[in-house]
Protein backbone atom coordinates (compact mmCIF):
# COMPACT_ATOMS: atom_id res chain seq x y z
CA UNK A 1 0.00 0.00 0.00
CA UNK A 2 2.77 2.42 0.99
CA UNK A 3 4.56 1.51 -2.18
CA UNK A 4 1.44 2.24 -4.21
CA UNK A 5 1.11 5.71 -2.68
CA UNK A 6 4.74 6.41 -3.60
CA UNK A 7 4.06 5.28 -7.17
CA UNK A 8 1.02 7.55 -7.39
CA UNK A 9 3.02 10.54 -6.17
CA UNK A 10 5.73 9.78 -8.73
CA UNK A 11 3.04 9.45 -11.39
CA UNK A 12 1.79 12.97 -10.74
CA UNK A 13 5.28 14.45 -10.96
CA UNK A 14 6.27 12.56 -14.10
CA UNK A 15 2.83 12.94 -15.70
CA UNK A 16 2.98 16.72 -15.64
CA UNK A 17 6.08 16.85 -17.83
CA UNK A 18 4.80 14.07 -20.07
CA UNK A 19 1.64 16.09 -20.60
CA UNK A 20 3.74 19.11 -21.62
CA UNK A 21 5.56 16.98 -24.17
CA UNK A 22 2.33 15.53 -25.51
CA UNK A 23 0.49 18.86 -25.74
CA UNK A 24 3.33 20.40 -27.77
CA UNK A 25 3.32 17.51 -30.22
CA UNK A 26 -0.43 17.22 -30.57
CA UNK A 27 -0.83 20.98 -31.07
CA UNK A 28 1.60 20.92 -33.99
CA UNK A 29 0.02 17.83 -35.49
CA UNK A 30 -3.54 19.02 -35.06
CA UNK A 31 -3.10 22.45 -36.55
CA UNK A 32 -0.28 21.94 -39.06
CA UNK A 33 -0.62 18.25 -39.93
CA UNK A 34 3.13 17.88 -39.35
CA UNK A 35 4.56 14.88 -37.51
CA UNK A 36 7.25 16.72 -35.61
CA UNK A 37 10.37 14.58 -35.43
CA UNK A 38 12.34 17.48 -33.95
CA UNK A 39 10.27 17.22 -30.78
CA UNK A 40 12.82 15.01 -29.02
CA UNK A 41 15.66 17.28 -30.12
CA UNK A 42 13.77 20.32 -28.82
CA UNK A 43 13.33 18.57 -25.48
CA UNK A 44 17.10 18.01 -25.39
CA UNK A 45 17.63 21.60 -26.51
CA UNK A 46 15.53 22.89 -23.61
CA UNK A 47 17.60 20.87 -21.15
CA UNK A 48 20.87 22.18 -22.58
CA UNK A 49 19.54 25.75 -22.65
CA UNK A 50 18.72 25.33 -18.95
CA UNK A 51 22.20 23.94 -18.34
CA UNK A 52 23.88 26.80 -20.20
CA UNK A 53 21.81 29.46 -18.46
CA UNK A 54 22.05 28.01 -14.96
CA UNK A 55 25.59 26.58 -14.96
CA UNK A 56 27.61 28.29 -17.69
CA UNK A 57 26.06 31.76 -17.34
CA UNK A 58 25.45 31.37 -13.63
CA UNK A 59 21.87 32.62 -13.75
CA UNK A 60 19.46 31.95 -10.92
CA UNK A 61 17.67 28.58 -11.32
CA UNK A 62 14.26 30.25 -11.54
CA UNK A 63 15.51 32.82 -14.04
CA UNK A 64 17.12 30.14 -16.19
CA UNK A 65 13.79 28.39 -16.75
CA UNK A 66 12.16 31.24 -18.71
CA UNK A 67 15.39 31.57 -20.70
CA UNK A 68 15.05 27.92 -21.78
CA UNK A 69 11.39 28.49 -22.67
CA UNK A 70 12.17 31.52 -24.81
CA UNK A 71 15.10 29.72 -26.44
CA UNK A 72 12.72 26.88 -27.36
CA UNK A 73 10.22 29.40 -28.73
CA UNK A 74 12.92 31.01 -30.86
CA UNK A 75 14.35 27.74 -32.18
CA UNK A 76 10.85 26.51 -33.00
CA UNK A 77 10.05 29.69 -34.91
CA UNK A 78 13.36 29.40 -36.75
CA UNK A 79 12.69 25.76 -37.76
CA UNK A 80 9.18 26.62 -38.91
CA UNK A 81 10.35 29.67 -40.81
CA UNK A 82 13.28 28.04 -42.63
CA UNK A 83 12.10 24.45 -43.13
CA UNK A 84 8.33 24.19 -42.94
CA UNK A 85 7.23 27.45 -44.54
CA UNK A 86 8.74 26.60 -47.95
CA UNK A 87 7.08 23.17 -47.73
CA UNK A 88 3.50 24.30 -47.09
CA UNK A 89 2.23 22.48 -50.14
CA UNK A 90 4.33 19.37 -49.62
CA UNK A 91 2.75 16.15 -48.39
CA UNK A 92 3.00 14.89 -44.82
CA UNK A 93 5.75 12.38 -45.71
CA UNK A 94 8.07 15.05 -47.07
CA UNK A 95 7.72 17.28 -44.02
CA UNK A 96 8.16 14.24 -41.79
CA UNK A 97 11.45 13.35 -43.51
CA UNK A 98 12.65 16.96 -43.37
CA UNK A 99 11.86 17.01 -39.65
CA UNK A 100 13.82 13.76 -39.21
CA UNK A 101 16.79 15.39 -40.94
CA UNK A 102 16.53 18.46 -38.72
CA UNK A 103 16.18 16.29 -35.61
CA UNK A 104 19.33 14.35 -36.46
CA UNK A 105 21.28 17.53 -37.19
CA UNK A 106 20.18 19.06 -33.87
CA UNK A 107 20.92 15.96 -31.82
CA UNK A 108 24.32 15.41 -33.44
CA UNK A 109 24.99 19.11 -32.98
CA UNK A 110 24.44 18.71 -29.24
CA UNK A 111 26.79 15.71 -29.21
CA UNK A 112 29.37 17.67 -31.16
CA UNK A 113 29.17 20.78 -28.97
CA UNK A 114 28.78 19.25 -25.52
CA UNK A 115 30.23 15.76 -25.93
CA UNK A 116 28.55 12.55 -24.80
CA UNK A 117 29.20 13.00 -21.05
CA UNK A 118 26.00 13.66 -19.10
CA UNK A 119 25.71 17.03 -17.37
CA UNK A 120 23.98 17.74 -14.08
CA UNK A 121 22.03 20.91 -13.29
CA UNK A 122 22.13 21.81 -9.58
CA UNK A 123 18.79 22.94 -8.14
CA UNK A 124 18.38 25.30 -5.15
CA UNK A 125 16.11 23.07 -3.08
CA UNK A 126 16.66 21.45 0.31
CA UNK A 127 17.97 17.88 0.13
CA UNK A 128 15.52 16.74 2.75
CA UNK A 129 12.44 15.31 0.94
CA UNK A 130 8.89 16.18 1.87
CA UNK A 131 6.99 13.40 3.63
CA UNK A 132 3.38 12.96 2.53
CA UNK A 133 2.02 10.12 4.63
CA UNK A 134 4.06 7.07 3.67
CA UNK A 135 5.43 8.65 0.48
CA UNK A 136 8.39 10.98 0.20
CA UNK A 137 9.01 13.37 -2.65
CA UNK A 138 11.84 15.81 -3.23
CA UNK A 139 11.16 19.53 -3.30
CA UNK A 140 12.61 19.74 -6.78
CA UNK A 141 10.01 17.30 -8.06
CA UNK A 142 7.23 19.24 -6.39
CA UNK A 143 8.48 22.36 -8.13
CA UNK A 144 8.62 20.51 -11.47
CA UNK A 145 5.04 19.33 -11.00
CA UNK A 146 3.80 22.81 -10.10
CA UNK A 147 5.63 24.42 -13.00
CA UNK A 148 4.27 21.83 -15.45
CA UNK A 149 0.72 22.37 -14.20
CA UNK A 150 1.16 26.14 -14.50
CA UNK A 151 2.41 25.78 -18.09
CA UNK A 152 -0.48 23.48 -18.99
CA UNK A 153 -2.91 26.04 -17.54
CA UNK A 154 -1.26 28.90 -19.43
CA UNK A 155 -1.40 26.92 -22.67
CA UNK A 156 -5.10 26.19 -22.17
CA UNK A 157 -5.75 29.84 -21.41
CA UNK A 158 -3.80 30.88 -24.47
CA UNK A 159 -5.84 28.62 -26.71
CA UNK A 160 -9.26 29.16 -25.19
CA UNK A 161 -9.20 32.78 -24.08
CA UNK A 162 -7.00 34.83 -26.38
CA UNK A 163 -7.37 36.19 -29.88
CA UNK A 164 -4.35 34.15 -31.02
CA UNK A 165 -5.93 31.03 -29.53
CA UNK A 166 -9.19 31.68 -31.35
CA UNK A 167 -7.29 32.05 -34.61
CA UNK A 168 -5.46 28.80 -33.87
CA UNK A 169 -8.71 26.98 -33.22
CA UNK A 170 -10.21 28.39 -36.39
CA UNK A 171 -7.18 27.25 -38.39
CA UNK A 172 -7.49 23.81 -36.79
CA UNK A 173 -11.10 23.51 -37.93
CA UNK A 174 -10.67 24.78 -41.48
CA UNK A 175 -7.61 26.70 -42.59
CA UNK A 176 -9.17 27.95 -45.82
CA UNK A 177 -12.19 29.46 -44.12
CA UNK A 178 -9.96 30.89 -41.41
CA UNK A 179 -7.85 32.56 -44.09
CA UNK A 180 -10.99 33.99 -45.71
CA UNK A 181 -12.02 35.45 -42.36
CA UNK A 182 -8.78 37.37 -42.22
CA UNK A 183 -6.65 35.01 -40.12
CA UNK A 184 -3.00 35.12 -41.13
CA UNK A 185 -2.71 31.34 -41.38
CA UNK A 186 0.99 31.37 -42.12
CA UNK A 187 1.63 33.36 -38.95
CA UNK A 188 -0.59 30.97 -36.99
CA UNK A 189 1.51 28.04 -38.22
CA UNK A 190 4.71 29.74 -37.06
CA UNK A 191 3.15 30.60 -33.70
CA UNK A 192 1.85 27.03 -33.26
CA UNK A 193 5.18 25.45 -34.01
CA UNK A 194 7.01 27.91 -31.75
CA UNK A 195 4.60 27.29 -28.85
CA UNK A 196 4.76 23.52 -29.30
CA UNK A 197 8.55 23.68 -29.40
CA UNK A 198 8.63 25.86 -26.32
CA UNK A 199 6.55 23.29 -24.41
CA UNK A 200 8.97 20.51 -25.41
CA UNK A 201 11.90 22.69 -24.33
CA UNK A 202 10.11 23.41 -21.05
CA UNK A 203 9.70 19.67 -20.40
CA UNK A 204 13.43 19.20 -21.04
CA UNK A 205 14.38 22.16 -18.86
CA UNK A 206 12.22 20.82 -16.02
CA UNK A 207 13.38 17.20 -16.21
CA UNK A 208 17.03 18.12 -16.86
CA UNK A 209 17.67 19.00 -13.19
CA UNK A 210 15.73 15.91 -12.03
CA UNK A 211 17.80 13.51 -14.13
CA UNK A 212 20.89 14.43 -16.15
CA UNK A 213 21.34 16.17 -19.50
CA UNK A 214 22.80 14.21 -22.41
CA UNK A 215 22.45 14.44 -26.21
CA UNK A 216 20.31 11.31 -26.69
CA UNK A 217 17.82 12.10 -23.92
CA UNK A 218 15.31 13.26 -26.52
CA UNK A 219 15.04 9.89 -28.29
CA UNK A 220 12.98 8.20 -25.60
CA UNK A 221 11.10 11.41 -24.85
CA UNK A 222 9.99 11.59 -28.48
CA UNK A 223 8.76 7.98 -28.50
CA UNK A 224 6.83 8.65 -25.30
CA UNK A 225 5.33 11.84 -26.69
CA UNK A 226 4.08 9.86 -29.70
CA UNK A 227 2.51 7.27 -27.41
CA UNK A 228 0.78 10.02 -25.40
CA UNK A 229 -0.56 11.65 -28.54
CA UNK A 230 -1.88 8.39 -29.99
CA UNK A 231 -3.50 7.56 -26.67
CA UNK A 232 -5.20 10.93 -26.43
CA UNK A 233 -6.05 11.13 -30.10
CA UNK A 234 -3.99 13.08 -32.63
CA UNK A 235 -4.84 16.75 -32.24
CA UNK A 236 -6.56 16.71 -28.84
CA UNK A 237 -5.05 18.82 -26.05
CA UNK A 238 -7.25 17.37 -23.31
CA UNK A 239 -6.36 13.94 -24.62
CA UNK A 240 -2.64 14.71 -24.47
CA UNK A 241 -2.90 16.01 -20.91
CA UNK A 242 -4.72 12.92 -19.68
CA UNK A 243 -2.53 10.71 -21.90
CA UNK A 244 0.58 12.11 -20.20
CA UNK A 245 -0.66 11.09 -16.78
CA UNK A 246 -1.90 7.69 -17.98
CA UNK A 247 1.49 6.90 -19.52
CA UNK A 248 3.27 8.00 -16.33
CA UNK A 249 0.96 5.77 -14.29
CA UNK A 250 1.54 2.81 -16.61
CA UNK A 251 5.30 3.30 -16.39
CA UNK A 252 5.35 3.67 -12.61
CA UNK A 253 3.13 0.66 -12.01
CA UNK A 254 4.86 -1.36 -14.73
CA UNK A 255 8.31 -0.57 -13.36
CA UNK A 256 7.22 -1.17 -9.79
CA UNK A 257 5.25 -4.38 -10.13
CA UNK A 258 6.33 -6.01 -13.41
CA UNK A 259 9.92 -5.20 -14.34
CA UNK A 260 11.94 -2.01 -14.22
CA UNK A 261 13.81 -3.06 -17.37
CA UNK A 262 10.60 -2.80 -19.38
CA UNK A 263 9.56 0.59 -17.98
CA UNK A 264 10.03 2.30 -21.35
CA UNK A 265 8.07 -0.43 -23.15
CA UNK A 266 4.80 0.66 -21.51
CA UNK A 267 4.23 3.39 -24.08
CA UNK A 268 4.32 0.80 -26.84
CA UNK A 269 1.87 -1.46 -25.02
CA UNK A 270 -0.46 1.53 -24.66
CA UNK A 271 -0.20 2.28 -28.38
CA UNK A 272 -0.99 -1.36 -29.20
CA UNK A 273 -3.96 -1.43 -26.84
CA UNK A 274 -5.35 1.83 -28.23
CA UNK A 275 -4.99 0.61 -31.81
CA UNK A 276 -6.83 -2.60 -30.99
CA UNK A 277 -9.62 -1.05 -28.93
CA UNK A 278 -10.16 2.48 -30.24
CA UNK A 279 -7.77 3.32 -33.08
CA UNK A 280 -8.68 7.01 -33.19
CA UNK A 281 -7.52 7.57 -29.62
CA UNK A 282 -9.60 8.23 -26.56
CA UNK A 283 -10.44 11.87 -27.21
CA UNK A 284 -10.02 12.37 -30.94
CA UNK A 285 -12.57 13.95 -33.15
CA UNK A 286 -13.00 11.46 -35.95
CA UNK A 287 -12.38 13.90 -38.78
CA UNK A 288 -8.84 14.60 -37.66
CA UNK A 289 -7.72 11.09 -38.50
CA UNK A 290 -6.47 11.48 -42.04
Amino acid sequence: MDQLVQHLVNTLVLGGTYALLGIGLTLIFGIMNVVNFTHGALYTFGAYAMYLAAVALGLNFFAALPVALVAGLALGALIEWTLLRPLRRADIDTTMLVMIGAGIALQSGALWLFGGVAKAIPAPFPDEPLQIGPASVSWLRIFVFAAALALIAVTNLLINATKLGRAMRATFQDHDTAALMGVNVSMIYTATFAIGSSLAAAAGALLGPVYVVFPQMGDLAAVKAFAIVILGGLGSITGATIGGFVLALAEEVGAGYISSGYRDAMGFLIIMAVLVVKPTGLFARAERIG
Binding site: F29, N33, V35, L83, P86, L87, R89, A90, D91, I92, D93, T94, M96, L97, V98, I100, G101, A102, G103, I104, A105, L106, Q107, S108, G109, L111, W112, D219, L220, V223, F226, A227, I230, L234, S259, G261, Y262, D264, A265, G267, F268, I271, M272, L275, V276, P279, T280, I289, G290
Partner: protein, 346 residues
Protein backbone atom coordinates in the same frame (compact mmCIF):
# COMPACT_ATOMS: atom_id res chain seq x y z
CA UNK B 1 18.86 4.28 -69.42
CA UNK B 2 17.98 3.59 -65.81
CA UNK B 3 16.84 0.09 -66.70
CA UNK B 4 20.46 -0.72 -67.49
CA UNK B 5 21.76 0.67 -64.19
CA UNK B 6 21.02 -2.47 -62.19
CA UNK B 7 22.46 -5.11 -64.60
CA UNK B 8 25.54 -2.97 -65.26
CA UNK B 9 26.00 -2.42 -61.54
CA UNK B 10 25.60 -6.15 -60.91
CA UNK B 11 28.19 -7.07 -63.54
CA UNK B 12 30.60 -4.44 -62.24
CA UNK B 13 30.15 -5.54 -58.63
CA UNK B 14 30.54 -9.22 -59.53
CA UNK B 15 33.92 -8.51 -61.15
CA UNK B 16 35.10 -6.13 -58.43
CA UNK B 17 36.82 -8.64 -56.07
CA UNK B 18 39.06 -9.75 -58.97
CA UNK B 19 41.16 -6.63 -58.48
CA UNK B 20 39.95 -5.28 -55.17
CA UNK B 21 41.64 -7.33 -52.46
CA UNK B 22 41.87 -4.74 -49.70
CA UNK B 23 39.96 -6.29 -46.76
CA UNK B 24 38.95 -2.88 -45.37
CA UNK B 25 37.27 -1.82 -48.61
CA UNK B 26 35.76 -5.26 -49.12
CA UNK B 27 34.32 -5.09 -45.62
CA UNK B 28 32.84 -1.70 -46.45
CA UNK B 29 31.23 -3.13 -49.59
CA UNK B 30 29.74 -6.09 -47.70
CA UNK B 31 28.13 -3.93 -45.00
CA UNK B 32 27.00 -1.47 -47.67
CA UNK B 33 25.42 -4.39 -49.53
CA UNK B 34 23.60 -5.58 -46.42
CA UNK B 35 22.27 -2.10 -45.75
CA UNK B 36 21.30 -1.74 -49.38
CA UNK B 37 19.15 -4.88 -49.07
CA UNK B 38 17.54 -3.21 -46.06
CA UNK B 39 17.05 -0.02 -48.08
CA UNK B 40 15.46 -1.98 -50.95
CA UNK B 41 13.00 -3.58 -48.54
CA UNK B 42 12.24 -0.17 -47.03
CA UNK B 43 11.68 1.22 -50.51
CA UNK B 44 9.03 -1.43 -51.17
CA UNK B 45 6.99 0.12 -48.38
CA UNK B 46 7.98 3.78 -48.49
CA UNK B 47 8.37 4.11 -52.23
CA UNK B 48 5.57 1.95 -53.54
CA UNK B 49 2.86 2.10 -50.86
CA UNK B 50 3.84 5.45 -49.31
CA UNK B 51 4.01 3.96 -45.80
CA UNK B 52 7.15 4.90 -43.87
CA UNK B 53 8.59 2.30 -41.50
CA UNK B 54 10.80 4.11 -39.01
CA UNK B 55 11.54 0.96 -37.07
CA UNK B 56 12.88 -0.88 -40.04
CA UNK B 57 16.07 -1.79 -38.22
CA UNK B 58 13.89 -3.84 -35.84
CA UNK B 59 13.23 -6.35 -38.63
CA UNK B 60 16.93 -6.46 -39.51
CA UNK B 61 17.79 -6.92 -35.83
CA UNK B 62 15.16 -9.62 -35.30
CA UNK B 63 16.54 -11.43 -38.34
CA UNK B 64 20.04 -11.17 -36.93
CA UNK B 65 19.06 -12.44 -33.47
CA UNK B 66 16.83 -15.25 -34.80
CA UNK B 67 19.52 -16.46 -37.15
CA UNK B 68 22.25 -16.23 -34.53
CA UNK B 69 20.19 -17.99 -31.86
CA UNK B 70 19.09 -20.72 -34.25
CA UNK B 71 22.67 -21.55 -35.13
CA UNK B 72 24.12 -21.07 -31.62
CA UNK B 73 21.34 -22.82 -29.73
CA UNK B 74 19.87 -21.57 -26.44
CA UNK B 75 18.37 -22.74 -23.19
CA UNK B 76 15.72 -20.51 -21.65
CA UNK B 77 13.15 -20.86 -18.92
CA UNK B 78 9.68 -19.53 -19.62
CA UNK B 79 6.85 -18.86 -17.16
CA UNK B 80 4.89 -21.87 -15.80
CA UNK B 81 8.02 -23.99 -15.60
CA UNK B 82 8.35 -24.44 -19.32
CA UNK B 83 11.93 -24.78 -20.46
CA UNK B 84 13.07 -24.61 -24.06
CA UNK B 85 16.40 -26.11 -24.94
CA UNK B 86 17.59 -25.78 -28.46
CA UNK B 87 20.72 -27.28 -29.97
CA UNK B 88 22.37 -25.32 -32.74
CA UNK B 89 21.09 -25.84 -36.25
CA UNK B 90 22.90 -25.00 -39.51
CA UNK B 91 23.05 -21.24 -40.25
CA UNK B 92 21.13 -21.74 -43.50
CA UNK B 93 18.12 -22.85 -41.41
CA UNK B 94 18.66 -19.75 -39.31
CA UNK B 95 18.47 -17.65 -42.45
CA UNK B 96 15.12 -19.17 -43.40
CA UNK B 97 13.74 -18.73 -39.89
CA UNK B 98 15.02 -15.14 -39.79
CA UNK B 99 13.09 -14.36 -42.95
CA UNK B 100 9.96 -16.09 -41.64
CA UNK B 101 9.92 -14.54 -38.16
CA UNK B 102 10.78 -11.02 -39.32
CA UNK B 103 8.04 -11.35 -41.91
CA UNK B 104 5.60 -12.47 -39.24
CA UNK B 105 6.45 -9.41 -37.12
CA UNK B 106 5.89 -7.18 -40.13
CA UNK B 107 2.55 -8.87 -40.75
CA UNK B 108 1.35 -8.37 -37.17
CA UNK B 109 2.44 -4.73 -37.04
CA UNK B 110 0.77 -4.07 -40.38
CA UNK B 111 -2.41 -5.79 -39.26
CA UNK B 112 -2.58 -3.51 -36.22
CA UNK B 113 -1.50 -0.18 -37.62
CA UNK B 114 -3.16 -0.23 -41.05
CA UNK B 115 -6.54 -0.09 -39.34
CA UNK B 116 -6.03 3.66 -39.53
CA UNK B 117 -4.10 5.81 -42.02
CA UNK B 118 -1.79 8.65 -41.38
CA UNK B 119 1.17 8.69 -39.06
CA UNK B 120 0.18 5.56 -37.14
CA UNK B 121 2.37 3.05 -38.96
CA UNK B 122 5.38 5.34 -38.51
CA UNK B 123 4.82 5.71 -34.79
CA UNK B 124 4.01 2.04 -34.23
CA UNK B 125 7.14 0.90 -36.05
CA UNK B 126 9.38 3.39 -34.23
CA UNK B 127 8.18 2.27 -30.81
CA UNK B 128 8.23 -1.40 -31.86
CA UNK B 129 11.96 -1.03 -32.56
CA UNK B 130 12.43 0.46 -29.11
CA UNK B 131 10.59 -2.42 -27.44
CA UNK B 132 12.55 -5.06 -29.34
CA UNK B 133 15.75 -3.32 -28.24
CA UNK B 134 14.54 -3.44 -24.63
CA UNK B 135 13.78 -7.15 -24.95
CA UNK B 136 17.22 -7.83 -26.44
CA UNK B 137 18.76 -5.83 -23.60
CA UNK B 138 16.76 -7.31 -20.72
CA UNK B 139 16.12 -10.95 -21.68
CA UNK B 140 19.68 -11.84 -20.74
CA UNK B 141 19.04 -15.57 -20.55
CA UNK B 142 18.20 -15.65 -24.26
CA UNK B 143 20.17 -12.79 -25.79
CA UNK B 144 23.06 -12.30 -23.32
CA UNK B 145 21.84 -8.69 -23.05
CA UNK B 146 24.60 -6.10 -23.35
CA UNK B 147 27.22 -8.86 -23.25
CA UNK B 148 26.27 -9.64 -26.86
CA UNK B 149 25.93 -12.93 -28.70
CA UNK B 150 29.41 -13.94 -29.74
CA UNK B 151 31.05 -16.63 -31.88
CA UNK B 152 28.12 -16.80 -34.24
CA UNK B 153 29.10 -19.44 -36.83
CA UNK B 154 29.93 -18.57 -40.43
CA UNK B 155 27.20 -19.10 -42.96
CA UNK B 156 27.35 -22.60 -44.45
CA UNK B 157 25.66 -23.52 -47.67
CA UNK B 158 24.83 -27.04 -48.74
CA UNK B 159 25.52 -27.13 -52.45
CA UNK B 160 24.20 -30.09 -54.44
CA UNK B 161 27.11 -32.28 -55.51
CA UNK B 162 29.70 -30.10 -53.76
CA UNK B 163 28.89 -30.81 -50.15
CA UNK B 164 28.95 -28.17 -47.44
CA UNK B 165 30.67 -24.86 -48.09
CA UNK B 166 31.53 -22.64 -45.15
CA UNK B 167 31.79 -18.99 -46.13
CA UNK B 168 34.79 -17.81 -44.17
CA UNK B 169 36.55 -15.30 -46.39
CA UNK B 170 35.40 -11.77 -47.12
CA UNK B 171 35.23 -12.53 -50.84
CA UNK B 172 32.85 -15.44 -50.24
CA UNK B 173 30.63 -13.31 -48.01
CA UNK B 174 30.76 -10.57 -50.61
CA UNK B 175 29.33 -12.89 -53.24
CA UNK B 176 26.69 -14.19 -50.84
CA UNK B 177 25.50 -10.65 -50.08
CA UNK B 178 25.60 -9.78 -53.77
CA UNK B 179 23.51 -12.84 -54.60
CA UNK B 180 20.90 -12.09 -51.95
CA UNK B 181 20.81 -8.44 -53.05
CA UNK B 182 20.32 -9.45 -56.68
CA UNK B 183 17.53 -11.86 -55.70
CA UNK B 184 15.83 -9.18 -53.59
CA UNK B 185 16.10 -6.76 -56.49
CA UNK B 186 14.52 -9.26 -58.89
CA UNK B 187 11.77 -10.09 -56.44
CA UNK B 188 10.89 -6.42 -55.95
CA UNK B 189 11.06 -5.77 -59.70
CA UNK B 190 8.66 -8.65 -60.39
CA UNK B 191 6.37 -7.61 -57.56
CA UNK B 192 6.20 -3.99 -58.64
CA UNK B 193 5.40 -4.91 -62.21
CA UNK B 194 2.65 -7.31 -61.17
CA UNK B 195 -1.02 -6.72 -60.47
CA UNK B 196 -0.11 -6.48 -56.79
CA UNK B 197 2.42 -3.75 -57.57
CA UNK B 198 -0.21 -1.74 -59.40
CA UNK B 199 -2.52 -2.11 -56.41
CA UNK B 200 0.23 -0.77 -54.13
CA UNK B 201 0.89 2.25 -56.31
CA UNK B 202 -2.81 2.84 -56.77
CA UNK B 203 -3.23 3.03 -53.00
CA UNK B 204 -0.32 5.42 -52.70
CA UNK B 205 -1.56 7.77 -55.35
CA UNK B 206 -5.28 7.80 -54.74
CA UNK B 207 -6.70 5.48 -52.14
CA UNK B 208 -10.43 6.10 -52.73
CA UNK B 209 -9.96 5.50 -56.45
CA UNK B 210 -8.00 2.31 -55.79
CA UNK B 211 -10.72 1.13 -53.39
CA UNK B 212 -13.39 1.87 -55.97
CA UNK B 213 -11.79 -0.49 -58.47
CA UNK B 214 -11.67 -3.26 -55.90
CA UNK B 215 -8.24 -3.01 -54.29
CA UNK B 216 -8.27 -4.39 -50.75
CA UNK B 217 -6.26 -1.67 -49.01
CA UNK B 218 -5.52 -3.29 -45.66
CA UNK B 219 -4.62 -6.61 -47.25
CA UNK B 220 -2.33 -5.03 -49.85
CA UNK B 221 -0.53 -2.85 -47.31
CA UNK B 222 -0.15 -5.73 -44.85
CA UNK B 223 1.31 -8.03 -47.50
CA UNK B 224 3.74 -5.30 -48.56
CA UNK B 225 4.79 -4.81 -44.92
CA UNK B 226 5.28 -8.58 -44.53
CA UNK B 227 7.48 -8.92 -47.60
CA UNK B 228 9.44 -5.83 -46.65
CA UNK B 229 10.06 -7.06 -43.11
CA UNK B 230 11.02 -10.54 -44.33
CA UNK B 231 13.59 -9.07 -46.71
CA UNK B 232 15.01 -6.92 -43.90
CA UNK B 233 15.23 -10.10 -41.81
CA UNK B 234 17.31 -11.72 -44.55
CA UNK B 235 19.69 -8.75 -44.41
CA UNK B 236 19.91 -9.18 -40.63
CA UNK B 237 20.77 -12.86 -40.96
CA UNK B 238 23.57 -12.06 -43.42
CA UNK B 239 24.83 -9.42 -41.01
CA UNK B 240 24.86 -11.80 -38.03
CA UNK B 241 26.84 -14.52 -39.81
CA UNK B 242 29.26 -12.06 -41.32
CA UNK B 243 30.03 -9.79 -38.31
CA UNK B 244 29.57 -12.80 -35.95
CA UNK B 245 28.76 -10.69 -32.91
CA UNK B 246 25.51 -8.85 -32.24
CA UNK B 247 24.33 -6.78 -29.29
CA UNK B 248 21.21 -4.66 -28.64
CA UNK B 249 22.90 -1.65 -30.27
CA UNK B 250 21.90 -3.14 -33.61
CA UNK B 251 18.43 -1.69 -32.95
CA UNK B 252 19.61 1.92 -32.78
CA UNK B 253 17.54 4.50 -34.63
CA UNK B 254 20.55 5.77 -36.60
CA UNK B 255 20.59 2.57 -38.68
CA UNK B 256 16.97 3.09 -39.67
CA UNK B 257 17.79 6.67 -40.56
CA UNK B 258 20.70 5.47 -42.69
CA UNK B 259 18.33 3.28 -44.70
CA UNK B 260 15.74 6.05 -44.98
CA UNK B 261 18.39 8.45 -46.30
CA UNK B 262 19.56 5.82 -48.81
CA UNK B 263 16.03 5.41 -50.17
CA UNK B 264 15.06 9.08 -50.19
CA UNK B 265 18.35 10.24 -51.69
CA UNK B 266 18.42 7.55 -54.37
CA UNK B 267 14.78 7.95 -55.27
CA UNK B 268 11.87 6.32 -53.48
CA UNK B 269 9.56 4.35 -55.69
CA UNK B 270 12.27 3.57 -58.23
CA UNK B 271 14.04 0.24 -58.57
CA UNK B 272 17.51 1.73 -58.97
CA UNK B 273 17.05 4.39 -56.27
CA UNK B 274 18.03 2.33 -53.20
CA UNK B 275 21.02 0.90 -55.09
CA UNK B 276 22.35 4.35 -55.97
CA UNK B 277 21.52 5.78 -52.54
CA UNK B 278 22.93 2.69 -50.82
CA UNK B 279 26.21 2.93 -52.68
CA UNK B 280 26.60 6.65 -51.98
CA UNK B 281 25.71 6.53 -48.31
CA UNK B 282 27.54 3.25 -47.76
CA UNK B 283 30.80 4.64 -49.14
CA UNK B 284 30.43 8.21 -47.83
CA UNK B 285 31.08 7.44 -44.12
CA UNK B 286 34.32 5.68 -45.05
CA UNK B 287 35.36 8.54 -47.32
CA UNK B 288 34.50 11.14 -44.67
CA UNK B 289 36.12 9.30 -41.77
CA UNK B 290 39.57 10.93 -42.11
CA UNK B 291 38.06 14.41 -42.42
CA UNK B 292 35.24 14.45 -39.90
CA UNK B 293 34.25 13.16 -36.49
CA UNK B 294 31.23 10.78 -36.57
CA UNK B 295 28.90 13.28 -34.87
CA UNK B 296 29.88 15.96 -37.40
CA UNK B 297 29.14 13.41 -40.14
CA UNK B 298 25.66 12.91 -38.72
CA UNK B 299 25.06 16.65 -38.80
CA UNK B 300 26.01 16.52 -42.49
CA UNK B 301 23.65 13.57 -43.06
CA UNK B 302 20.74 15.37 -41.44
CA UNK B 303 21.36 18.47 -43.52
CA UNK B 304 21.85 16.33 -46.65
CA UNK B 305 18.45 14.72 -46.11
CA UNK B 306 16.87 18.17 -45.84
CA UNK B 307 18.78 19.49 -48.87
CA UNK B 308 17.76 16.53 -51.04
CA UNK B 309 14.09 16.95 -50.10
CA UNK B 310 14.28 20.65 -50.99
CA UNK B 311 16.34 20.40 -54.17
CA UNK B 312 15.26 17.09 -55.69
CA UNK B 313 12.36 15.83 -53.64
CA UNK B 314 12.03 12.72 -55.76
CA UNK B 315 15.66 11.67 -55.43
CA UNK B 316 18.74 11.30 -57.58
CA UNK B 317 17.53 8.64 -60.03
CA UNK B 318 14.30 10.45 -61.05
CA UNK B 319 16.25 13.72 -61.27
CA UNK B 320 18.71 12.09 -63.68
CA UNK B 321 15.86 10.65 -65.72
CA UNK B 322 14.24 14.07 -65.98
CA UNK B 323 17.54 15.56 -67.20
CA UNK B 324 17.83 12.98 -69.93
CA UNK B 325 14.36 13.51 -71.34
CA UNK B 326 14.13 15.70 -74.45
CA UNK B 327 13.17 19.30 -73.76
CA UNK B 328 9.75 19.31 -75.33
CA UNK B 329 8.40 16.24 -73.58
CA UNK B 330 7.79 17.24 -70.04
CA UNK B 331 9.13 15.23 -67.17
CA UNK B 332 6.63 12.68 -65.82
CA UNK B 333 3.78 14.36 -64.00
CA UNK B 334 4.52 14.98 -60.34
CA UNK B 335 2.67 13.07 -57.66
CA UNK B 336 -0.97 14.11 -57.34
CA UNK B 337 -1.73 17.09 -55.13
CA UNK B 338 -1.25 15.90 -51.57
CA UNK B 339 -3.92 18.23 -50.24
CA UNK B 340 -6.51 16.46 -52.37
CA UNK B 341 -5.32 13.10 -51.15
CA UNK B 342 -5.54 14.12 -47.51
CA UNK B 343 -9.07 15.39 -47.91
CA UNK B 344 -10.26 12.41 -49.86
CA UNK B 345 -9.18 9.88 -47.29
CA UNK B 346 -12.01 8.60 -45.13
Amino acid sequence: MTRFIAPALLAGLALLPLWLQDPYLLNMLITTGIFTIGAMSLNLLLGYTGQLSLGHIAFVGIGAYVSALTSLGFDVGLPFGVRITHEGWPPAVGFVLAVAISGLCGYLLGLLSFRVRGAYFVIVTISFAEVVRLVALNWVELTQGPLALTSIPFMTLGLPGLGEATLRSKTQNYYLVLAVAALSYLLIARLVGSRFGRAMRGLKENEPLALSVGVNATRTLTIAATISAAMAGAAGSLYAHYIRIIDPDIFSFSYTVTMVIMVVAGGKGTLAGPLVGGLIFGVLPVALRPVMAPEAQWIVYGLTLIAILFVMPRGIVPALEALRLPRRTKAPAPAPAPAMQAEAQP
